[in-house]
């Protein structure tokens, strides 16, 4: 059951990324997906609205984080997903604390 849902997300995410030139992979339910695979955040940049949800999908066998220096941190265990509700002040750059060469950006639009 879980596998089916993940597959569907994967397809939606990939499709949206293609359509929007890799910008924001927004699904219809207001959740924006960011995939972590082979130590890359994809898409690296997303544009979201406050109140939307960001879901990170970790396809690596390694634990990753989405960490804002001096701010919040979301931990995404190997093969798992984790979410954050977007706050108004979430226009940030973030990185993985375990692999700081992984970098992403969130832009909150009005």
């Amino acid at each position: 059951m879980t596998a089916v849902i993940l597959d569907r997300r994967q397809v939606l995410g990939a499709g949206a990324a293609l359509l929007m030139g890799g910008e924001a992979a927004a699904a219809h339910d207001g959740t924006v997906h960011v995939t972590m695979e082979k130590l890359v955040f994809l898409p690296a940049e997303i544009e979201v609205k406050a109140g939307q949800t960001i879901e990170w999908i970790n396809k690596d066998p390694f634990a990753h984080t989405a960490t804002v220096k001096g701010g919040w941190e979301v931990m995404i265990p190997p093969g798992k997903t984790a979410t954050r509700a977007v706050a108004a002040g979430d226009t940030v750059e973030y990185y993985c604390r375990f692999h700081p060469n992984m970098k992403g950006r969130i832009k909150v639009s009005a």
Partner: protein
Amino acid sequence: MKTRVSVLGAAWLVLAATTAMAADKPTDPQIAHIAYSAGVIDVDAAKLALSKTKNADVASFAQSMQKDHEAVNEMALALVKKLNVQPEDNPTSKALAKAAKDKRGELGKLSGAAFDKAYVANEVAFHKQVNDALATLLIPSAQNNELKGLLETGLKLFQGHQQHAEHVAAALK
């Protein structure tokens, strides 16, 4: 200062061995052995650190090293099995193992902040040295594309580890 000199010494030893091999490029079975050995070395170093350190950042770093290197070595084992490749011991693997054994003896005598600093400094040096070998020798020499792909993922992972180690080192100062 003494620690720093010996870290560089170990790095030079292995780099010299790696450079000596550059004349005749390592084969895929040798490359698999080198990459796997490097992972085992770092897992062992992490276990030593976890048995000695009292610093939360150092412990968290060591846990991450142990888990990541175990995971990537599992991928490597699955791949060599699939490709029917038998990893083959070679001078670079031997030099890595020798340098690691010496370093382990050195670290084993230290404790507290001195251990933490020496362990993390060696993690920076070790990952840098493995990354250099991956980028300049192992990845270009790999014949099988799946092996090359795994080495490329390994390089990204270990570059991340090097930066993580640098952050932990900076925080220890």
